[in-house]
């Protein structure tokens, strides 16, 4: 297990390093001067000169590259001229929002996905299966941003059941912790749904297929022939074996989830990573864009790593691979 873990972490670090390099060279190749583009219009010449110097823009390429890698290793992604503070601070500020959005969405995604998948596998090849498979295909393909807008116009603008934006009400929605928690959940309801639905479609499809595969395995057939109750078979044999596949899918879905975060946060005006990145892009805030990209990459790498490890725990064969 340890060698497996060490191997995976090593690969992850290498990828992260290469990603950092890639991002640096994309930033280097980009036309325009980062200082001028990010608000330099109204700065005095001396400030521009000083900022250029501070950002190391007057150095040769290799020096800049070495400096950049050195910075990133120490967790310093540079200084955002637009936000007038270090990129790291800006990112750290918005993380709680993004993590609560993504975390809740993963849970919801699993609940919906597993429920649909189980039901479809239970009624395999029947009408219910066909309906559920169609449903999961449809929700898997529906573009998240459009779904969000539809939910927004129906449940928020139309019925007034949910708030249309932001993470919490004025003054946290109430005095007690419970009240403010309820307020947050209320605000996150539609974004969670928006983010979870497409992923739930994917999970449902995979889960259904892998349940059906597992159901055909010899040990399941054997247990059934021994007269073990279907419930026990499902809970002790089928579920654990089929869930492995789902976790693998979750690992690869993290990228899609982060992409979903960008549009969901934009639609619902949530103060998270996605909106930070969008703001950075619309204001040509180069250091912030680069920081966000690397951070998103790191999250995906860590997510994949966790999924791998979890998969390895559940299914020992994976460790050999």
């Amino acid at each position: 297990m340890m060698t497996f873990l060490a191997g995976r972490i090593g690969t992850g670090l290498i990828i992260l390093f290469l990603l950092t390099t890639l991002v640096f060279f994309i930033g280097y190749a980009a036309p325009g001067d980062p200082v001028m583009l990010s608000g330099g219009v109204t700065m005095s010449a001396s400030t521009i000169f000083q900022l250029r110097h501070e950002m190391g823009l007057d150095q040769p390429l290799l020096t800049r590259y070495a400096r950049w890698i050195g910075q990133v290793v120490t967790g310093d992604f540079g200084y955002s001229v637009r936000q007038q503070r270090p990129v790291k601070e800006a990112i750290l500020d918005v993380l709680p929002c993004t993590f609560s959005l993504a975390g809740g969405a993963i849970v919801l995604e699993l609940i919906i996905g597993l429920a649909i998948g189980t039901a479809a596998a239970r009624f395999r090849s029947g009408t219910i299966d066909r309906v559920l498979s169609t449903v999961s295909l449809v929700i898997y393909t529906v573009p998240a941003f459009w779904l969000g807008i539809m939910l927004l116009s129906v449940f928020s603008y139309g019925l007034g059941l949910f708030p249309s934006s932001q993470l919490q009400s004025i003054n946290g929605g109430g005095n007690s912790t419970l009240e403010s928690l309820a307020d947050r959940i209320w605000h996150l309801g539609l974004p969670w749904l928006t983010l979870a639905v497409p992923g739930a479609g994917a999970i449902a499809r995979y889960f259904r297929d892998s349940l059906i595969t597992v159901r055909g395995e010899e040990y399941v057939l054997f247990a059934r022939s021994r007269g073990v109750s279907p419930k026990t078979i499902f809970l002790s044999y089928e579920l654990p074996n089929a869930v492995g596949a789902v976790i693998a899918v979750l690992g690869t879905e993290i990228g899609a989830l982060l992409a979903g975060v960008v549009v969901t946060e934009t639609v619902f005006a949530l103060p998270g990573m996605g909106r930070l990145a969008m703001t950075a892009i619309l204001t040509r805030d180069y250091p912030l864009i680069m920081g966000c990209t690397i951070f998103a990459g790191a999250v995906v790498i860590v997510g994949n790593l966790l999924a791998d490890v979890a998969h390895g725990f559940i299914d020992p064969r994976v460790r050999l691979a």
């Binding site: 005095s44 001396s46 007038q84 059941l161 309820a182 809970l235 703001t279 040509r284």
Partner: protein, 567 residues
């Protein structure tokens, strides 16, 4: 088997509990929303984007400036006399003042007892220190120009001489020359020197200890949640003029206008700046408890024709200025204006809240506005004749005018994110097509857009300006393109430069009205750009806010006086 039953039942219980919890949450929140019409002790202002910084040295964002005015002290404050259409200065930190040396110096008597939010006194040194900081090039303040305009060359020792600290309660401003905006320029936000002095000057713009400001105005910034809320609470120590009456003023960041609109209807936000006309009408029609305030007009939009050859300008680094091949001729610019139906655009978008603009001087300034000028009217036939007279004809029959092998074809740049401008651009495109002028539209993100405009790298662009309260047009219309960075059409005219130079010398702004009227006549004749419209901004504010005298000065300038209306 029993084991399975418990499994089974536990699962159902959990599921049931979760459903119940969600149900209760929703119900609870639904109910609490209904209750929200009860009296509140806070006001929520819905704003579009986050602010950049609260440091007065560097804040460029309009919301940030508004908040800074509520938090930081200043010598004088500005009020607007709507009957004359002129601004006046009233005392703030300065209790009173006297003009000395025939108006070139002003002696200010400071109010005693003003304190920073951390308890230390606001003293005369703070005043001097603040102006030193604004003027210091190593600080790199964005207000450097405003601060050094009146100082005797803008270096540090001179600031010390220009702003003389007589004693703890007396400061004398020695101005370089007599001009109308002396009191206004003496009214920049003042900095707490005891906090700023601890930081190296060239590090101030990165210092995070100044992120939450310490001021002496009616409010403190209690919390700044990026991309979420900015929460102001009353500064109970304030004597400038007094602590805010509401216990909180919250600036809530909601990027989408329509979400802001929905929230002012539901009462989640109380003040919605810059509401669209149709929506304002709808709010009134639906009897939403809001009042609509009119601002200005302080904003105009114009199609700026690049009067000079931008490529040549860039190539020679601003030394070589030659007329633009398309727009260098004033007859052509007049023709373009005549081909654009401004009346129709205004009727479609602004109805009674817009009016045709012909110069950068707002009708709000009654004393200076030249109401004898009749703007060029829509007349595509005359436009075509002017084009033909200038030699532009469609010789190859492709539907686009040409002359000497060059087509009258250009790109109109517009900043992205403004739907009205995009729509107006599309309308103008159609209208120009009718006189065989080919215009393409290019939307650019604001930063890139302004980058290109500043480099003069454009044919034409839609850009608008919020006119300052003071009649200061040098930056926009001065003929020296290096200095007048916002002279977007790169318009150069000797008489205009004379008028602008003269304006800097008058002691009473309103005395200069005849020259400003002449200025408008020249601009109207030369048409350096096609002014589209003056737009009266509308602000919706909840009826429960008493004393919300939102006017040309802005939205929150008197937020300290806001209080809950008696029921």
């Amino acid at each position: 088997m029993t084991n399975h039953i418990t499994h089974h039942s536990v699962r159902w219980w959990v599921a049931f509990a979760i459903c119940l919890m969600f149900g209760i949450l929703l119900l609870y929140n639904g109910c609490s929303r209904k209750r929200s019409s009860a009296a509140k002790d806070y006001v929520v202002v819905g704003i579009e984007g986050d602010v950049d910084t609260f440091n007065p040295l560097y804040a460029e964002d309009a919301n940030a400036s508004d908040i800074i005015d509520l938090v930081f002290p200043s010598m004088t404050r500005t009020t607007f006399d709507s009957s004359r259409g002129a601004i006046t200065q009233i005392p703030s930190l300065a209790r009173s003042w006297e003009f000395l040396n025939s108006g070139k110096d002003i002696l200010f008597h400071l109010r005693s007892g003003a304190r920073w939010a951390d308890g230390s006194a606001v003293n005369a040194e703070d005043v001097q220190y603040s102006y030193i900081m604004y003027a210091d090039t190593s600080v790199g303040s964005v207000r450097q120009d405003a601060a050094s305009a009146f100082l005797k060359s803008g270096t540090i020792p001179d600031v010390r001489k220009s702003i003389e600290v007589k004693d703890d309660s007396t400061v004398i401003f020695h101005f370089d020359h007599l001009y109308a905006g002396e009191l206004f320029d003496a009214g920049l936000p003042l900095l707490p020197s005891h906090l700023y002095e601890k930081i190296e000057r060239n590090k101030i713009h990165q210092d995070s200890s100044l992120r939450i400001p310490v001021g002496a105005g009616p409010f403190n910034v209690k919390e700044w949640k990026p991309l979420q809320d900015i929460i102001l609470t009353p500064n109970t120590e304030s004597t400038l003029p007094h602590p805010g009456r509401y216990s909180q003023i919250i600036f809530r960041i909601i990027p989408d206008y329509y979400q802001r609109l929905a929230q002012i209807r539901s009462g989640e936000i109380d003040v919605l700046p810059y509401i669209e006309i149709a929506d304002a009408d709808a709010l009134i029609r639906d009897k939403v408890a809001v009042q609509i305030y009119r601002l200005g007009p302080r904003f105009y939009d114009a199609i700026n024709w690049n009067n000079i050859d931008g490529i040549e300008y860039a190539k020679s680094k601003g030394k070589h200025i030659i007329p633009n091949k398309l727009f260098g001729n004033k007859k052509i610019r007049q023709a373009l204006t005549m081909a654009i139906n401004r009346k129709q655009i205004i009727d479609a978008f602004f109805r009674s809240y817009g009016r045709v603009a012909f110069s950068p001087i707002s009708p709000m300034f009654r004393w200076a506005y030249n109401d004898s000028i009749r703007p060029l009217s829509y007349n595509p036939d005359s436009a075509k004749k002017l084009f033909a007279a200038a030699g532009w004809k469609d010789t190859d029959g492709d539907g686009i005018l040409d002359k000497d092998g060059k087509k009258f074809s250009f790109v109109l740049k517009i900043p992205s994110g403004n739907q009205v401008r995009a729509q107006i651009a599309a309308i103008v495109q159609e209208q120009l097509k009718a006189i065989s002028v080919d215009m393409k539209i290019e939307q650019q993100e604001r930063g890139a857009f302004w980058g290109a405009i500043m480099d003069k790298n454009f044919d034409a662009c839609i850009a608008g300006f919020n006119v300052p309260l003071q009649m200061q047009l040098d930056e926009l219309w001065g003929g020296d393109l290096q200095k007048s960075r916002f002279n977007i059409p790169s318009f150069q005219n000797i008489r205009i430069d004379e008028i602008l130079a003269g304006a800097r010398q008058v002691s009473q702004e309103t005395d200069y009205a005849p020259q400003w009227k002449e200025f408008q006549r020249i601009i109207e004749h030369e048409q350096p750009c096609t002014f589209l419209y003056w737009q009266t901004d509308l602000v919706a504010a909840n009826n429960r806010i008493h004393h919300a005298n939102i006017d040309a000065l802005g939205i929150t300038y008197n937020a300290a006086d806001w209080e809950e209306a008696p029921r």
